[in-house]
Structures are given as structure tokens and as C-alpha cells.
Amino acid sequence: MAQRHLRKFKAIVVGGSAGSLEIVLKIAEALPLAGIVCILVVHRRNDPDSALAHLIAAKSKLKVREVEDKETIAGDVIYLAPPDYHLLVETDVNFALDASEKVHFSRPSIDVCFESAAAIYGDALIGVLLSGANADGAAGLKMIRDAGGFCIVQNPATAEVPYMPQQAINQDAADEVVDGGEIHKFIVEMLQRNTPIRKQN
């Protein structure tokens, strides 16, 4: 296991599928203005009117952007992966979009985004994987963890659909398994302390 040390988290990526919306909104609502980049990848139907972006914007102190091609990355912004494109972190200042094949029947794919974020942010990244009926996300979360990032997985027992978080746990991608209703608090506390928290032991 990667050694735990004090560090400055720069970014947080959150992946969710079926049954994750409520927790996504809670996280968006709880995130403090602390210069953090927040990236959300949520499986959803094509939504040309950006209803999800509006919903999140109504709750959050941070700005909300549905990512466009080569969008500049800034702190205190929640970036939402647009429907029907994969979202990649290209450099620490730019996103890139990709219209390639679906991964795990999904576009955007959580794996694709997580993998690219792990490569750019390394140990300055927090990865979060929520409820879902899909195997997407587990491999990407493992890559975040292997790159030194800190990984939070929703406790499957508290997930509307436990399959996705359970996959991540099975693949040893979790630093911490947290109940759905507690994840937002857990994240905020970690951002305040700028250090990974060990809940158990």
C-alpha cells in the first residue's frame, strides 16, 4: 500500500451510475471553495438540455461546467462529463474529449476518465466510486490508487445498486469504504486536513 503522507489534494473525480444521483448532489453541495478541481462522470441518457448540470449548479457553491473540447481546467469548478463523449484529463490545464467506442457499454466511461486523471494528478487525486449496475470504474479506480491517489468506495450495503462499488472492492481499489450518506462529509474533512483519513483502526 502506498505510504500515507501529508499532501495537497488538487482534484477529486467522482464516478457514478444507476442510483448515484442523490449522493452526487450531496457531494456537490458539500464541496467547499478550496481551489479543488472536481470532475464528475455520471452514466446518463443523452441530455441535450444539460438538466443534470443545472441540477448540480442549483446546489453547489462551485461553478458547474459541462465540459467542451479542450476546456481549461480551473479550481473551484465542477466539471461534468458531457453525454456521449469520453472525458480525458489531457494535461493539468486542459481536458480532451473522445468519441471512441463505448467502454463497459458506457460513454462517458468512468474508467477512461479515471485512468487519465491518475496519470496527471498522481497522489494529489481523490477518486470516488458510487452506486451502479456496471463494471465500469473499478479498473480506473485501481489505477488512481496505484498512482498514489486516495480512493473512496461507497459501501455496497448502502448502495441502491451494489454491483459497481463491489467490483471496485473486489479489485482492491478501495482505500476506504464509506456509507453513502457519509461520503460527502468524509471528503470535506479530508480536504480540510489535506491528508488521507483512516476511518477504521
Binding site: 441535450p48 465540459v67 467542451e68 473540447d69 479542450k70 458531457p82 456521449d84 463523449y85 469520453h86 480525458l88 484529463v89 489531457e90 494535461t91 480532451a96 474529449l97 473522445d98 468519441a99 471512441s100 467506442e101 474508467d111 477512461v112 485512468e115 487519465s116 496519470a119 479498473a139
Partner: protein
């Protein structure tokens, strides 16, 4: 993605080789997705590592085709983003219809789904006869399909839904004949298409058009290359011509922005010179 490791140095080496030995210049493409494509190729081909990829590229005749095919993302759909096609149908085609001839360029057309969608729109607007559709792509393999007019039958249900959402009123299946697992589109569409390879990085303008579509191609380019390509489009458009980009692409930040005004608020359609 699991599989053999690909370092940044590996990727640079591959791009140099593709350029020096074969003239394919991918050096101004967005890195993160190129890296994914090469990793994906190594995995699909069950290669042991980058050196095997490199060896095969140099020594196997058909390997270049495979590498280029995988690096260029050829995923496409008919009537992708139906609201975009609805805007073409309702707002752009009536203007094009006033011209004696209509020339349209699909740059980065992949296997031609977008071109056939356009041909159907033109026919329904009553102007297919006086139209010519230029379909170009970097990848020669996908161009062949346009001449054949053959698409997987399994997709037709989805395409028919897209077609209806774009404002189509006909029975979509009247446009093709189903044979085995393929849908073959009527030859009258193909007659109006000119398919050719054209590399947006290195090839020049070859005609003047009233409408250029380049959708989901610029996302793979870095900003400098995007700027060069948008300049090429500007030079290839008639005055008052239209430029259509993918739903998440924009020309706002490019040097040609001032030559265009946004034509549709919701869709990525610009008009030159007003």
C-alpha cells in the same frame, strides 16, 4: 486499460516513425487519447510490449493500415445528435435550396453514416439532384465503405429513431434493402457522393463549398492544429457558407472566429461573413 505498458517516450517514438517513414503526422493530436488508442491496439493485438508493435510496423506489410485505423477513431452514427440534423433540415437546407448547385464537404466522414444522413435530408428537401457531397477522411479503409453504401443492419433501429427525432417523416427502412446482416442504401445516394482520402493536417483546400461539416474530428487535435484546420475551412467556404462542428466543439477561440457568426444558438453551426 490493462495490458502492456506504453510510456510517453514510446508514443513519441511511434509518432516519429509514422511521420518520417509514412508521412502520417499525428504529432499535433491530443496526447491522452492517442495513448489510449495505442494501448488499446497492443491489447487487442495481444502484443507483448511496445517493441513488438514497433517491429511489426516496420516489417509487416499491412500493419501500417492497422495502426492508422486504430489511431484514428472511426466511430460514427447516422443522424448522430438528431437535433443538429433537425436544424440543418429546418434552417440551413432552405437557404441552400436557393443556389443553382449545392456543394457540401464532410471532412473526417469516417465510414459515411453522416454523409448518407445528409443525402437523405437533401432528397427530402428536394435538392439532392443538384447537390454533390464530398466525403473525405484520412483513413483509406473507411472511405471504401461509402462507395458500397453498406451499414450494419443491427444499427438500423437506432438510426431510425434518430431519423425520426431529426424530423424525418418517412419509413426509414424505405431507404435501404436488408440483406443478411447488412443494410444496403439505394444507389441514387452514392451517385451524388465523391469519396476520397484527404488529410486535414497536410492537404489543402480543393474546392469552394456552401456547407462544410467537420464533426468530432477537431476534438482529437491540439489548439494550434485546430486553428490551422479552421483556417482551411474558412478558405474553402463561399461567402455566407455554413460550417458545422461537433456538439462539444467550438471555433470561438480560433483566429477565424471573427469571420463567422453563430447561426444557431443551440447547435454548432456558424455562417461565414455576416
Amino acid at each position: 486499460m490493462e495490458g502492456p505498458i506504453l510510456t510517453d517516450e514510446n508514443l513519441t517514438l511511434l509518432l516519429d516513425e509514422l511521420y518520417q517513414s509514412y508521412g502520417y503526422d499525428f504529432t499535433s493530436y491530443a496526447r491522452a487519447s492517442l495513448k489510449r488508442r495505442v494501448s488499446r491496439l497492443m491489447m487487442l493485438e495481444k502484443l507483448n510490449g511496445f517493441s513488438e508493435l514497433f517491429y511489426r510496423l516496420r516489417h509487416e506489410d499491412d500493419y501500417l493500415k492497422k495502426v492508422v485505423g486504430e489511431l484514428t477513431v472511426n466511430v460514427t452514427e447516422m443522424f448522430r445528435d438528431p437535433t443538429f440534423f433537425r436544424a440543418l433540415r429546418e434552417s440551413v437546407l432552405p437557404i441552400l435550396a436557393t443556389h443553382p448547385f449545392v456543394r457540401i464537404w464532410h471532412a473526417g466522414c469516417a465510414s459515411g453514416e453522416e454523409v448518407y444522413s445528409m443525402a437523405i435530408l437533401l432528397e427530402e428537401a428536394g435538392i439532392l439532384e443538384k447537390s454533390l457531397l464530398y466525403a473525405t477522411d484520412l483513413n483509406p479503409a473507411v472511405i471504401e465503405n461509402i462507395q458500397k453504401g453498406i451499414f450494419p443492419l443491427s444499427q438500423m433501429r437506432q438510426y431510425s429513431e434518430n431519423y425520426i427525432a431529426s424530423g424525418g417523416k418517412k419509413d426509414f427502412s424505405s431507404y435501404y434493402t436488408a440483406k443478411y446482416e447488412y443494410a444496403k442504401f439505394d444507389g441514387r445516394f452514392k451517385k451524388k457522393m465523391i469519396a476520397a482520402t484527404h488529410n486535414l493536417v497536410s492537404d489543402r483546400s480543393f474546392n469552394e463549398f456552401q456547407l462544410i461539416l467537420c464533426r468530432n474530428v477537431l476534438i482529437y487535435f491540439d489548439k494550434d492544429l485546430q486553428d490551422r484546420v479552421l483556417t482551411l475551412f474558412n478558405d474553402s467556404l463561399e461567402k455566407l457558407g455554413f460550417l458545422a462542428l461537433g456538439s462539444k466543439e467550438n471555433l470561438r477561440y480560433s483566429s477565424v472566429a471573427k469571420s463567422f457568426s453563430q447561426f444557431s444558438i443551440k447547435e454548432k453551426i456558424w455562417r461565414k461573413g455576416i
